[in-house]
Amino acid sequence: MPRNRPARVAVLGSSVQRSATPGYSSSRSGALRRRIVVVCLVLAAFVLLTVSFRSSALDGVEGYGASALRPFEIAANRVAHPFRDATGYTRGLFDAKSENKQLEKKNALLWLELTEARENEQQNGAIAKLAHYASAPIFKDFTTIGAQVLSSPSDFDQSVTIAAGSDQGVKPYDVVVTSGGLVGQVTKVTKDVSRVMLITSASSSVRAVDVLHPEAVGQLDPGGGSGSLELDGVSKSAQVTMGDTVVTAGSPGKGQLPSLFPRGIVIGTVSSAGQNDTDIYKDIQVSASANLGSLQNVLVLVPKPQAAVKGKR
């Protein structure tokens, strides 16, 4: 019973009929009607389903219905067309963005691979050159040990470290070359790593000669500027021209004063040659042919035992 029922209703001894409302029907007859309707509809659906599935009797009807609906569908399509375009555009935009991201990633990966491949190709080329260079006749008395350069020279320290040490047979004072030319000599050796003093180092001095003018022999020392070389001790009477190749002069006096550097290793080219009245010798500037600032692979020339004994360098 509702709490706020009218007093008159509350005191009635007999049942009170409420007015019917237009809402849901829930009487017994309503329930029956409901059941009948739903059963009929389900049966009709089953009949339609069965007939439509088993035969083509309803195809004509369906076709007419579809034809009748077609204009409405076309109209709906036309109405929806701008929205569909907008959706397609937005989707395309998102797709393009995600595709762009993917392509950027892929591009970055490909760039990495390309760089790596180029680097490898370059390194292979350099190694091949080096191998070819190592087979030159001037190195017949040496065992060549290939080594990767681990560090670069700085303005203060014209030396590099290489990935070869005593385990590989490297010893102090061994000469280091590259396919470009002379690099320097080993100054310190550990088990796996060695330190190489470059020819541009202040402590370096190499006996060198102008290939075209053998009388132009002197000591190749580091020049005034960083990385520059000077050929000192060449007499004024010697002919030296710009562009001449300078190589190591080897041992003077038929091996009686052995040099650490074998004869014939290319050092560089004469970049300037001049003289003045006050100096005793010529002023010859040499630019190193090996790229000493960015070395990657080098060869260490280890004298063969008989060569060391003979002292033919």
């Binding site: 509350a10 009170v16 409420r18 409302t21 509809l41 339609l48 369906e62």
Partner: protein, 173 residues
């Protein structure tokens, strides 16, 4: 009542056209929005079981005709859905805020499963894996549609004054 029938027929007709011509082409997140189902359930909730069942039957017939599908297939499913949710609306769902959302979520899931089963029984292709994988997205999309559609349906079919289910009062003492 006649007005209600006309309004429901028009609303369902438009819903079927939108479904067939527009929404069927989109499968966001792998799901499929079913505007006909949402409209039908809204009408059924507001107008009861018989109205829901008849509306479902008619809407199903229209969909099958438009798609040149097996006649009676969608009718059967939508009739049962309309009737069931209509009964729910007549009984426990009255004035419950969550009723339309709950109805749509449950019926979407059941409708999908029953459609799959029926297709399987008929020997049609029934890719259960694909359809069931897209079911959560379908439910979500239908729930999103429910908010505006149910609000619209409430405007078109204003809730009738509902009397108590007990029509007679008998005093005990």
């Amino acid at each position: 009542m006649t007005w209600d029938i006309l309004k429901a027929a028009l609303l369902l007709f438009v819903a079927v056209l939108v479904q067939v011509a527009v929404l069927s082409a989109y499968h966001p997140l792998g799901g499929r929005a079913d505007i006909v189902l949402v409209v039908l359930l809204s009408i059924a909730l507001l107008r009861g079981a018989i109205f829901g069942a008849v509306s479902g039957f008619a809407a199903g017939l229209l969909i099958d005709t438009a798609n040149l599908d097996t006649l009676g297939f969608t009718s059967l499913l939508l009739t049962v859905a309309g009737f069931w949710i209509g009964r729910y609306g007549e009984t426990t769902a009255r004035d419950r805020f969550h009723a339309p959302y709950l109805s749509v979520a449950v019926v979407t899931a059941l409708y999908t499963v029953c459609a799959l089963a029926l297709r399987f029984v008929l020997g049609d292709p029934a890719p259960a894996g694909v359809v069931l994988a897209g079911l959560p997205a379908s439910i979500l999309l239908n729930l999103i549609l429910t908010l505006p559609i149910y609000a619209l349906a409430r405007r078109i079919f204003p809730p009738v004054a509902i009397s108590d289910r007990v029509h007679e009062v008998r005093l005990l003492a």
